[in-house]
């Protein structure tokens, strides 16, 4: 039944003299895709092309003449980039764990009808999506907690996203009460039920929400700029801002004492940093992509 209706629908939109229309559509979509993909190819190419090629073509290469990993060797020589990469990994991993723990527990509490304070807490969560308190008050609160220049300042303020809590809640609400009741009769407590029954049943949605949080932590730039002055605690995004967007030269000292006369062109080093910051996103993207549309929609529809 579903297949036949979808066929009818497709036909409904698409019959008629289609040939010229189809060509136009194809060309438009091809251009759209090229506009997204070509810059990535250029960035990767510039990071691996030979020194002469980069210098001769004025700093940006669309297709590399060789595979030259010098710029990667340079940035992984123990300098500022390597340190920032570690910071970003720590924030992303630690932050995601904290976010998932806090959000799932909150969402689970809100998903069982008749839990203590359910209605007001739900309103607190929903209202937090609509209204943000503002930059200055946020800064003051982080400062009053003594979190300035602490990596926790990059985690705690954004740890709970109301939207993600609602997505998780609507998934948990789909778990039948009878399953949980039978566990309770067998003598399981609330935490036991949550840990051994609810979480294993929710792997897909946990993966999506976890990846959303992880991408958020990995990409966080503004909070880092606001709260972290100590350059030793800079995450990768701040390094990118300073050395790529603001075009500050990376000196030999910044790069863990590589000898100055042998440095690859600045453009190659910059693009290598950019690639390093892209790779984790490109790795998790296929997983994210498989689930998110569904995860997002269940949250939006039932929430």
């Amino acid at each position: 039944m579903t297949t036949s209706t979808s066929v009818v629908k497709q036909k409904g939109i698409d019959d008629g003299p289609a040939m010229p229309a189809r060509v136009v559509k194809g060309v438009v979509l091809l251009i759209c895709c090229a506009v997204v993909i070509v810059p990535f190819i250029g960035v990767i190419s510039t990071s691996i092309a030979s020194q002469e090629h980069v210098t001769n073509s004025g700093g940006f290469v669309l297709w590399p003449d060789a595979l030259n990993l010098d710029s990667y060797k340079t940035i992984f020589n123990g300098g500022v980039v390597q340190r920032a990469l570690m910071v970003s990994f720590v924030i992303t991993l630690g932050g995601t764990l904290i976010s998932l723990a806090g959000s799932t527990m909150l969402a689970y509490g809100l998903s069982r009808s008749g839990s203590f304070g359910q209605r007001p807490i739900l309103l607190i969560v929903l209202f937090s999506i609509l209204f943000s308190p503002g930059l200055i008050p946020n800064y003051l609160v982080v400062k009053e907690f003594g979190l300035l220049d602490s990596l926790l300042a990059l985690i705690l303020p954004t740890a709970i996203s109301g939207f993600n809590v609602i997505v998780l809640r609507s998934f948990f609400m789909g778990i039948p009460d009878s399953v949980l009741d039978s566990a309770r009769i067998d003598g399981a407590g609330d935490f036991r039920i949550f840990w051994s029954i609810v979480l294993p049943l929710s792997r897909a949605v946990l993966a999506v929400v976890g990846l959303f949080y992880a991408v958020g932590y990995w990409n966080a730039f503004f909070n880092a700029m606001l709260y972290i002055n100590d350059t030793a605690k800079w995450p990768l995004q701040l390094v990118l801002r300073t050395y790529v967007i603001n075009n500050t030269e990376l000196s030999a000292g910044d790069l863990g004492g590589a000898s100055a006369d042998q440095l690859p062109p600045q453009e190659s080093i910059q693009m290598a940093i950019l690639v390093v910051s892209l790779v984790p996103i490109l790795i998790v993207y296929p997983f994210l992509q498989r689930h998110f549309a569904k995860g997002m929609l269940t949250g939006a529809v039932k929430g």
């Binding site: 979808s6 009818v8 629908k9 409904g12 939109i13 698409d14 019959d15 559509k25 979509l29 895709c33 506009v35 997204v36 993909i37 810059p39 990535f40 250029g42 004025g58 700093g59 940006f60 527990m105 969402a107 689970y108 509490g109 809100l110 839990s115 807490i121 607190i124 937090s128 609509l130 308190p133 503002g134 930059l135 200055i136 008050p137 800064y139 003051l140 609160v141 982080v142 009053e144 907690f145 705690l156 709970i160 109301g162 935490f191 991408v215 990409n219 730039f221 801002r241 790529v244 967007i245 603001n246 910059q270 693009m271 950019l274 892209l278 996103i281 993207y285 992509q289 929609l297 939006a300």
Partner: protein, 287 residues
């Protein structure tokens, strides 16, 4: 069990609301919060008296919002309609995978990529130089700044924006298309009389939400590029709060501007929702 999450939410989302009190104080960073002097509405004077810098930030903010509602808002709708009209599910999925990707990149990465393409030694200017056509200053040109911002937003989020519309399009009853065809409707008429009404509710809902954000435009995006074009062309309310508050130390005034901005945003959403109800649409929330 809900406690840890709730505490985090209260501490970092609701406690800061109290922090807005400094909008009514003469706040000094090294004096404890409670002991700053109360100054009533003095900090709001900058708004009521029409301080030139503030007015400029307000003007830029509204201009960017208007341009983006015109150019950014319809882009995902058009793309979704295009994707929806494709026959091949496979091609559709490949195109979607490609076009969703930029949404997951940070603004720092997106702007770095744009600089490689549009910068002084970037791809396009190198091409122009090689062909003896002179270069174009895309990134430092105050007159082109809004166009630059807009193209970046379109590049980053148009693909992602199609998700909701594509979902709404699958909800349209196929029988309606059939009926339209029996009545002799062309493909364009089907689009106009069946498809567009089918997603009208969603379009209105997203427009309302956009309205609530109309005083919030591309904060990270602008802060990252402000050096190149200068503040007169690029200052918006959020950057004004940051530059005058955190950087220049005018805490109270900036908090006041931020507070007014937040309240106007909420008021706009509630007002627009009322209007939507009057016209018989569902809006963001029911009455």
């Amino acid at each position: 069990m809900a406690l840890p999450g709730l505490v985090l939410l209260l501490a970092f989302h609701y406690l800061p609301l109290l922090g807005n009190l400094i909008a009514f104080q003469e706040y000094l960073p090294f004096v404890p919060l409670g002991r700053s002097a109360w100054v009533g509405l003095d900090n709001f004077a900058v708004i009521f008296n029409g301080d030139a810098e503030f007015l400029n930030a307000l003007k830029n903010t509204l201009l960017i919002t208007i341009v983006q509602v015109i150019f950014v808002f319809p882009a995902p709708i058009a793309l979704a309609l295009l994707l929806n009209s494709l026959l091949s599910e496979r091609i559709k999925r490949v195109v979607q995978s490609v076009l969703y990707l930029p949404h997951f990149l940070s603004w720092v990465i997106v702007i770095a990529i744009f600089q490689q393409i549009l910068g002084g030694s970037g791809l396009i200017n190198n091409f122009l130089r090689e062909h003896g056509m002179g270069t174009i200053d895309f990134l430092g040109n105050p007159d082109g700044f809004i166009a630059l911002l807009t193209s970046q937003v379109i590049w980053k989020d148009t693909g992602w924006g199609t998700i909701l519309f594509l979902a709404a399009l699958t909800q349209i009853d196929p029988g309606l298309y059939e009926a339209a065809r029996v009545d002799g409707a062309s493909r364009w008429r089907q689009l106009w009389h069946v498809t567009v009404p089918g997603i009208r509710g969603l379009i209105i809902l997203l427009l309302i939400l956009r309205l609530g954000d109309s005083l919030t435009v591309g904060f990270e995006q602008i802060i990252l590029q402000q050096n190149l074009v200068g503040r007169p062309a690029s200052e918006v309310l959020d950057t004004y709060v940051y530059n005058n508050g955190v950087l220049a130390g005018q805490w109270g005034v900036s908090a006041a501007v931020g507070l007014v901005k937040g309240l106007i945003g909420v008021a706009l959403v509630i007002g627009a929702n009322k209007v939507a109800h009057i016209f018989g649409e569902a809006g963001v929330y029911k009455k």
